[in-house]
């Protein structure tokens, strides 16, 4: 069966390369978009207790929504294809990044900030030199969760015409063609595992030496 899958892969090299490319592109774009929205929003919300609580509550509801349901809801509104899938995946990636950014900034101890101010640092220096480095490991933990979720969600995007490796899986299931199914399922599993590993490594690297 694995030999058949390998032969199928060799025969459909170009198709596989395109699907893999689309999968990575759509996942990376969704993650970047979500980070560009959720990190500034989180930094803003973390300063005000009321805003932070509201943002966390909304994000927690967003987190419980089933991925496929979100993708399916985008379909009647925006149609099929790459762009609607990108919108849905971005929506799925927002909650973990938002909650982790807020938690990361709020987790910086008040004493540390106080000491920095006492040393004569300006508010922008405190943000850049104290709060950001201390919050970064937590923010990266959020990005890691979001990244794995997006790679996984991008498989489901095949159902709304988003392309990617999910196409091989859905076609493989529809025709009960095991080689085709494996050509989608095995690479996407490896992609997800390496994404998790990559972000885990980044998370450790970016943790300031003092709190490692």
């Amino acid at each position: 069966m694995f030999v058949d899958a390998w032969q199928y892969l060799l025969l459909h090299r170009a198709q596989f390369a395109t699907a893999f490319g689309v999968h990575v592109t759509i996942s990376a774009s969704a993650l970047l978009l979500a980070a560009a929205i959720a990190i500034p929003a989180g930094v803003f919300a973390a300063r005000k207790a009321g805003a932070a609580l509201a943002a966390i509550n909304i994000a927690n509801i967003g987190r419980t929504l089933p991925s496929l349901a979100v993708l399916a809801l985008v379909l009647p509104l925006l149609g099929t294809g790459f762009a609607p899938s990108l919108v849905a995946l971005t929506l799925l990636a927002l909650p973990p990044i938002l909650t982790h950014t807020i938690a990361g900034l709020q987790g910086v101890e008040a004493d540390v900030v106080d000491a920095a101010r006492g040393m004569g640092m300006t508010p922008s220096q405190v943000l850049r030199q104290i709060e950001t480095p201390l919050a970064i490991p937590v923010v990266f933990a959020g990005l890691r969760t979001a990244a794995v979720q997006v790679v996984s969600g991008a498989v489901l995007a095949a159902f709304i015409g988003g392309g990617g490796l999910g196409d091989f899986i859905t076609a493989g299931i529809a025709m009960m063609a095991m080689p085709q199914l494996l050509v989608g399922a095995i690479p996407v599993t490896l992609l997800s595992l390496s994404t998790d590993y990559l972000f885990g490594t980044l998370e450790r690297r970016l943790t300031p030496r003092g709190i490692r």
Binding site: T64, L68, A72
Partner: protein, 207 residues
């Protein structure tokens, strides 16, 4: 909306299927996690191994997991339930072990001093005190399982995902709306109720 009102019986059947599959998977996963979690709470090596394995399973994309099981168990409900158990193990094992570990040592010591044996300490002291953390895990696991069940309709497991896939296949948006919104409502509803239960248990514990 009119489609929903005319076909509410169809939605109700799908919802019922969804709940039964999710509950079955959750019960199996909980039973496994309780056993593994209790052992893992006492042995760091078991904990590390269990978390590493469960973490690996958790990272595999849902649809890929369902697909990889097809050559082994074929299409249908068994496939979906195995996938759901695999996805909820990480959260449940971690919370059972953490909950038991967080019980203060003095309390366990006092219970032993009162003459309780290991089994009594576990059943009457450790597990009741770990309950809020275990329920918190159950809450995340329940939401995960409900979410996986939606996708599992693609391997003929039934449930609300069936409405979504039928709706997509026949280009019938009301059916998609009905399936997707009911699934969202179910997930949010279960999440909020278990959160309320968790709060009540925590309050009783501190009182």
């Amino acid at each position: 909306m009119t489609w929903f009102l005319r076909n509410w019986d169809q939605v109700a059947i799908a919802l019922w299927e969804h709940v039964t599959i999710s509950l079955t998977a959750l019960s199996i996963s909980f039973a496994i996690s309780l056993a593994v979690g209790i052992v893992a709470a006492r042995h760091q090596r078991v904990y590390a191994a269990a978390i590493a394995l469960a973490g690996f399973l958790y990272t595999i994309p849902t649809l890929a997991f369902l697909a990889l099981l097809i050559p082994v168990v074929g299409l249908g409900r068994t496939n979906a339930i195995i996938a759901m158990v695999a996805f909820s193990l990480l959260i449940l094992i971690r919370n059972v072990a953490t909950g038991i570990r967080n019980v203060p040592f003095e309390i366990v010591d006092a219970a032993r001093g009162m003459g309780m044996n290991a089994r009594q300490v576990l059943a009457r002291v450790e597990l009741p005190l770990a309950l809020p953390v275990i329920i918190a895990g159950l809450r995340v696991a329940a939401v995960t399982v409900i979410s996986v069940t939606v996708a599992a309709a693609y391997v003929n497991a039934g449930g609300l995902g069936t409405l979504i896939f039928n709706g997509i296949a026949t280009d019938h948006p009301p059916k998609i709306w009905a399936g997707a919104l009911t699934a969202c409502a179910l997930a949010v509803g279960v999440d909020l109720s278990l959160a309320a239960l968790e709060r009540t248990l925590r309050r009783r514990r501190t009182a």
